[in-house]
């Protein structure tokens, strides 16, 4: 690739860091600048709600690479330096101090921020959000034995924090406004299994519970629900989703719609500008529509896609989504779009240690799957399901439902078909 203006990556999170790695792996040998608003080396976020909160992992354990890696690979890290403006036409970004930086190609990896709840008491000390290492380190201070944590939002973040806080000896109540937890993409049966796991560990989950206000003198002492219920609290964790950081791109005129829009190669409408990770709404070639994913897998994969596009390789993003969550020693994995199914097939039960769920469309094609198991006992099965989806397989529902039937055999059948 010809030398010239540097490749600049805006955002040194998981997707941004991996984009830099991929560019070097693919042979780009020009100037490479990674700009990050946070003071930390690029890191993975899964430990923030788990290992970091329980003390099993330290911030440095989350780093994608150590500092020497960036030095050795000629990746210029500018941490604590966020861009304030972008000019696609001049191919320049403006930095916080007003200086401008020319780029040959730009990868936007600005990520997302927690959705804030505008509530009375929302600014009290002890009201926490969780998105980055600094949030996690702040939250740890509140997770002491005897603490009373109220978690607002029964999504992955809320339930993982609830599990970690319980492990640290805190009393935990989870408030979910909807009728079921994990409602954004999981069938009710899986949500019920998760609620049962939490109940067994002493975490109380209240669905249909809407927060009205947070109370306290300077710091949190209680929350009040819309039905008048009052719960004592020494801390509140709000986990009600994230908002993609599109402002810079939107102000520069790039098309945005809950994410920065991009094609199957993660290229935006602007020449030589690409987008990856939580803030990208790219066209997934498999599904034929623009999809924004908030996952570890997506940060990994779009980093590769964008880097290949930058290098002119013409990649296509066609991943089948995949996420996991760890709670109370159980691992939940989800692939595809389980709530898109017309028929559901269950295999095994959580009470017996492992519960798989398969979602089939009207034509019998597998479109989604869930796997809940102790430790990683169900991970292998979920991976087979993901591969069946990738192949557009129409597996026999009776075989899917039968715990003694070999799932891998279905994979071989789909290969032969």
């Amino acid at each position: 690739m010809s030398r010239g203006a540097p490749i600049v990556i805006l955002g040194a999170g998981h997707a941004g860091g991996r984009s830099a790695e991929w560019l070097r792996r693919l042979g780009y040998d020009g100037e490479l600048i990674l700009l990050g608003a946070e003071p930390y080396l690029p890191y993975e976020r899964p430990p923030l709600s788990k290992g970091l909160l329980t003390g099993a992992q330290a911030p440095a354990d989350c780093h994608l690479q150590d500092e020497g890696f960036y030095r050795d690979n000629g990746i210029e890290l500018r941490l604590g330096d966020a861009a304030s403006a972008l000019s696609p036409r001049d191919k320049r970004v403006t930095l916080a101090d007003g200086a401008t930086l020319a780029f040959g190609k730009l990868v936007i990896a600005t990520g997302a921020r927690p959705r804030r709840l505008a509530l009375p008491g929302g600014e009290l000390e002890g009201v926490c959000y969780l998105r980055d290492i600094a949030h996690s380190l702040e939250l740890i201070e509140h997770l002491t034995p005897g603490a009373r944590l109220v978690v607002v939002g029964g999504g992955f973040i809320g339930l993982e924090v609830a599990a970690s806080a319980r492990k640290q000896g805190a009393e935990v109540v989870v408030l979910e406004a909807a009728p079921q937890v994990l409602g954004r993409g999981l069938p009710a049966s899986v949500a019920e299994d998760m609620v049962a796991l939490h109940a067994a560990e002493g975490v109380e989950i209240c669905t249909g519970a809407q927060l009205a206000s947070i109370e306290g003198q300077g710091r949190v002492s209680a929350v009040t629900l819309k039905d008048g219920t009052r719960l004592e609290a020494s801390a509140v964790l709000i986990g009600v989703g994230i908002v993609p950081n599109v402002e810079l791109a939107a102000a520069a005129g790039l098309p945005c719609d809950d994410g920065i829009l991009a094609g199957t190669d993660c290229a935006t409408e602007a020449l030589d500008i690409f987008v990856v990770g939580d803030t990208a709404r790219a066209t997934n070639a498999r599904y034929g529509r623009q999809i924004r994913l908030e996952s570890w897998q997506n940060a990994e994969q779009q980093a590769e896609i964008a880097a290949r596009a930058v290098m002119g390789e013409g990649p296509r993003w066609e991943a089948v989504p995949w996420v996991w969550s760890d709670q109370h020693g159980w691992n939940l994995q989800v692939t595809g779009f389980p709530t898109d199914g017309a028929h559901f097939v269950a295999r095994g039960r959580a009470a017996e240690g492992k519960a798989l769920g398969f979602a089939l469309d009207r034509d019998g094609a597998l479109v989604g799957a869930t796997a809940l198991g102790q430790g990683l006992s169900a991970a292998k099965d979920l991976r087979v399901a993901q591969m069946l989806i990738e192949r557009g397989a129409r597996p026999d529902p009776a075989a899917l439902a039968d715990p003694s039937a070999n799932l891998k055999a279905l994979l071989k059948q789909s290969q032969a078909a």
Partner: protein, 105 residues
Amino acid sequence: MSGWIKVCAAEEIDEEDVIRFDHGGRTYAVYYTPSGHYATDGVCTHEEAHLADGLVIDDIIECPLHQGRFHIPSGKAKSPPVCVDLKTYPVKQEAGDLFIQLPAV
């Protein structure tokens, strides 16, 4: 002392599968792939996960935690996020039993 340690009867590992084998305070993964029996360290080089919970396809083991891939016969890391190779150990079959050769401690 280095030496050959019995793992299990060969028939206890299904084809295209892997089992966990603990010995001397360490964990190994023992595989039966279409090209034969192999052994590697049992824990992924990326993050703590037992490879015996992973999926074997041909000569590839995929970690159950992050789907990083290793080539089983060589232990080579094949796809991100894994970048450090797995240590491999010789395996032999005698009278229907599998043995793994472990280095001196």
